[in-house]
Homo-oligomer: 140 residues x 2
DNA sequence: ACCACTATTGCGGCTCTTTGCGATAAGCAT
DNA sequence: ATGCTTATCGCAAAGAGCCGCAATAGTGGT
């Protein structure tokens, strides 16, 4: 089903602003901040308010078209929902980011489901820690 | 080793402001926001600036005396580092927060360490998902 | 007790994000 | 084409937090 149809089906409307946010997301490969999107959109259409971009990202998320992930210190990044799901490791020392297959996180998710009835979304927040490189440096 | 000594040892100084932040943290049982602390401190000492509270929490964190945790909102919560470590589950639907023993998260941490050399701090960010109660409601 | 050094403070200002509100404009019915 | 309903928008303001800077005040030495 097309995005437009899904918008209509949910009682939403297609606006210029929404289309622009959508297009910016298409072009952005991966993990962009709302501020990134706002900046790009406003480069050509300065009259569009940043808050409109934020609200549209939320709306598109409710439609299941985009998702967000939190990196260290709560920086929120957005990406299209049809991209391959994966986990994130972030080094608190050097800031390096690494992606890991979602399968790696599956055992924990299963345990949380079985033992606590909690359906965890382990890709929603990055896992913070110390990367291999930084661990080596500090142990010297 | 006393907090005062650790402060000295790291070339830091003990100030009235720092002592007040520390005391506020002692009194607060669990998970307080920087703004909470600032409000409490400023109730008696209005001349103390909120930014001083923020900076002191960071300083005390570098000393290993306090830590912070991220829940699903944009607010960071602080607590003493000597408290029992534990993981957090947050329901994205009803917002309920639940604590889980850190041991539950250990297997994943071990795997990340073994397979990626990554020392994960799985208590740093809450795990987001859907709690048992909300899952039942939506499946009816 | 006094000095010098510099960590820390209060303040002003700034960034990123969310929210309330009145104005605008999609989408539908006539 | 015209009007109506109400989703969405732009704007202003608030919330959370950070940062530069000049003034203040711990600390260690004399
Ligand atoms: Mn953090
Ligand atoms: Mn989130
Ligand atoms: Zn690193
Ligand atoms: Zn719930």
């Amino acid at each position: 089903m097309e995005i437009d149809d899904r918008l209509h089906a949910s009682g939403r409307r297609m606006t210029v602003q929404r289309r622009l946010v959508l297009e910016a997301l298409q072009r952005a490969r991966h993990h962009v901040t709302a501020d990134d999107i706002a900046t790009r959109v406003r480069a050509r259409h300065p009259q569009i308010d940043p808050s409109t971009v934020y609200r549209n990202l939320e709306a598109l998320e409710e439609l299941g078209y985009v998702t967000h992930t939190h990196f260290d210190d709560r920086v929120t990044r957005w990406h299209r929902a049809d991209a391959q799901r994966h986990g994130h490791l972030v080094c608190r020392s050097c800031g390096a980011e690494q992606e890991v297959p979602i399968g790696l996180l599956e055992p924990l998710a299963r345990r949380l489901r079985d033992e606590h009835g909690f359906q965890a979304d382990l890709a929603h927040s990055a896992i913070v820690g110390v990367c291999k490189a930084c661990a080596n440096v500090s142990s010297e």
